[in-house]
């Protein structure tokens, strides 16, 4: 089993919270994971950029529209985790 296969939803969620908190310049603890990220202030260009960062981190193809299809951090992590 390589490290990519070990990516659980919990780990992905943690990563998403970090990335989005850094982008929005607010503390990670203030990021609600059950709200659409667009409501937090992520725009359409950034959503595609984040899908690209996920692609690098997870080492597999992620569709650019993944954030539209799974709009909250919880849903996205659930979808991408095992």
């Amino acid at each position: 089993m390589n490290e990519h296969e070990a990516m659980t939803a919990a780990r992905i969620k943690e990563w998403l919270v970090e990335v989005i908190a850094r982008r929005l310049n607010i503390p990670a603890r203030d990021i609600p994971t059950d709200e659409p990220v667009t409501r937090l202030g992520i725009d359409s260009t950034e959503a595609v950029v984040i899908s690209g960062e996920l692609q690098v981190w997870l080492g597999r193809r992620i569709p650019p529209t993944v954030v539209w299809d799974h709009p909250t951090i919880d849903a996205l992590a659930e979808h991408l985790g095992e």
């Binding site: 202030g41 725009d43 260009t45 595609v48 950029v49 690209g52 992620i62 529209t65």
Partner: protein
């Protein structure tokens, strides 16, 4: 001397005949892993086929809306329309910006046909089926059209003053404006760009990730190459946004010399290209790296140079420039310099339309990058927008233009056409009012803002009024029509700020996060725009003049200088 064609149809027909096997478009997909090559003769044949299919169902001058997720489909459809005199109007595909734009364009230009490809066609149609206008146009998938039997036709030969396409400016969704660009405009602008940049058909090897519904992508990287008969390499915008390095890799792989892109794309490369990826990049041949379509920042270009000098990138390759759809695309740019021409101006003086240079260590200064000079066959005046007095060097005013690249006007909008394209300085021929504020220093143009407070983000224009109207009623605590939207510099990046007043009755147990969240969500859903900052104000404290005219710039000034009457604790 380069050969000059009268129109795009002649240009493509000539190249298909003289250099049939030369690649017209190299279409990259899958982050550059897959390559489709379309030769000039392939493009000519497919355009003729599409034109033959359209001929029985259209008359010349009819409009066709083009909605594509694939660059390969788009270029075929675009020239197919031109070959039968149908005027294409490109629209953005859904998923990136919602279907708002596509639907407002469909309503505005009442097309006879909608040309699309399979992967987006169904999605657009399903989402837009409610629009009454959709009962009229015929929906066609280009893949299907190319499989149909057709009766052969000859391409129509348009006159220079005939409409070539309609460029929707990426602005107000409530009233989209389609600039009608003629064949003559395109041929002139293409020549102006070649002479302004200093490239020719031997040295111009364009590589782009720009979407083709955007004027910089379409004119710069589709029409220019066809006028000159050179190979253009195109990749999907989504590929670039997901993996910025694939743009820079393609530059090295295909010996690209020229790319046009808005400022944010250079920031994205600095942030997202890893050192490992840099090891494989060769940017030494990238000679014309245009920066335009949104405010050009010296800091961005310095960071980019710092990050990519090791890949052979040279600072003098940067080519800051200025243009707009109403002037076809290119207005000013160049000549190239060792470091882009710039100056540091006092921010407060600029607000009074004066340019006062200050040294680098003075606070309250703003660095402005020159967008270069204009060619002599066109005219640029800096004009006081209120008195219409022509400004002197180093005096800020609205940029007015005239010349062969200026389009005739907006589609089906005489009123707005007269206001924007019919400005007069008592000497006959009308000027285009660009709405951009700027000044010149020794004939070099500097841009410093918008007369109409337009917000320009990631190369797209947003009218603040659209954003302001959107948030009305999105949360009970917001007072009526009290929101003000403007762009501001936050940490050297363009950001959208919105203020709104909170009802006095709602201040007691106000949930700030809920109000701000509701506004962010509404603005994102309606416009695809991210609000970087939301400021909640006391009731009645939004700055206004009696005419209401200056309140956005006043708000911006107060925001930047800490003078807004924020709610307690905000």
């Amino acid at each position: 001397m380069e050969r000059i064609h009268d129109n795009l149809v002649d240009a493509l027909c000539v190249w298909a005949n003289e250099v049939p096997d030369r690649i017209a478009f190299r279409i990259l997909t899958g982050f550059g892993q897959e390559v489709e090559e379309i030769s000039f003769s392939d493009l000519h044949r497919d355009a003729l086929h599409i034109a033959a299919h359209l001929t029985p169902i259209t008359v010349p001058g009819d409009r066709a809306v083009l909605v594509f997720s694939s660059n390969a489909g788009f270029v075929r459809a675009f020239f197919g329309c031109l070959y039968c005199g149908v005027v294409p109007a490109p629209a953005s595909p859904p998923s990136l910006r919602g279907t708002e734009r596509a639907s407002s364009i469909l309503t505005s230009c009442s097309p006879r046909v909608v040309l699309t490809n399979e992967s987006v066609g169904g999605l657009v149609k399903r989402r837009l089926d409610d629009l009454p206008i959709l009962k009229r146009p015929t929906w066609l998938h280009v893949e299907d059209v190319l499989k149909c039997e057709v009766n052969p036709i000859e391409p129509v030969r348009p006159m220079a003053d005939e409409a070539a396409f309609v460029q929707y400016t990426s602005g107000s969704t409530s009233s989209p404006r389609g600039v009608v660009v003629s064949h003559g405009n395109l041929v002139h602008n293409s020549t102006a760009m070649a002479l302004g940049f200093g490239f020719d058909k031997e040295t111009f090897r364009p590589i782009s990730w720009l979407p083709l519904f955007h004027d910089m992508g379409l004119v710069g990287h589709v029409i220019n190459p066809i006028c000159l008969g050179v190979t253009s390499t195109l990749m999907p915008a989504l590929d670039f946004l997901q993996k910025p390095a694939c743009w820079l890799s393609a530059v090295g792989d295909y010996r690209g010399t020229c790319s046009m892109a808005p400022n944010f794309s250079y920031d994205l490369c600095v942030d997202r290209v890893s050192d490992d990826q840099k090891n494989d990049l060769d940017l030494s041949g990238w000679r014309w790296v245009l920066n335009g379509a949104e405010p050009v920042r010296l800091g961005t270009m310095e960071r980019f140079y710092g990050a990519f000098a090791r890949c052979g990138f040279e600072m003098r390759s940067f080519f800051p420039s200025y243009g707009l759809a109403e002037a076809t695309l290119y207005v000013t740019g160049g000549p190239k310099m060792a470091v882009p021409d710039h100056l540091r101006a006092d921010r407060a003086a600029l607000r009074d339309n004066r340019v006062v240079e200050v040294s680098d260590d003075v606070s309250g200064g703003v660095t402005l990058v020159s967008s270069g000079q204009m060619r002599r066959d066109s005219e640029m005046k800096i004009v006081d927008p209120d008195s219409t007095r022509v400004c002197l060097d180093m005096e800020v005013g609205e940029i007015w233009l005239r010349g062969p690249s200026i389009a005739n006007g907006y589609l089906d909008d005489e009123e707005e056409t007269a206001i924007t394209f019919g400005a007069s300085l008592d000497d006959g021929e009308p000027f285009l009012r660009t709405g951009d504020l700027g000044f010149t220093r020794d004939g070099y143009l500097f841009i410093c803002g918008r007369v109409k407070d337009l917000i320009i983000l990631n190369g797209l224009n947003h009218h603040p009024r659209d954003l302001e109207l959107s948030v009305i009623g999105c949360h009970d605590a917001i007072r009526g029509d009290s929101a003000v939207a403007f762009s501001a510099d936050i940490e050297e990046r363009e950001a959208v700020v919105m203020t709104c007043e909170i009802k006095r009755s709602a201040t007691a147990d106000l949930n700030r996060e809920a109000v701000m969240g509701a506004m962010r969500e509404r603005i994102f859903v309606d416009h695809g725009v991210k609000l970087s900052k939301v400021v909640l104000l006391r009731e009645g404290s939004t700055p206004k003049t009696t005419s209401g005219k200056m309140r956005r710039s006043e708000c911006r000034y107060l925001f930047e200088n800490g003078g807004l009457l924020r709610l307690e604790g905000g």
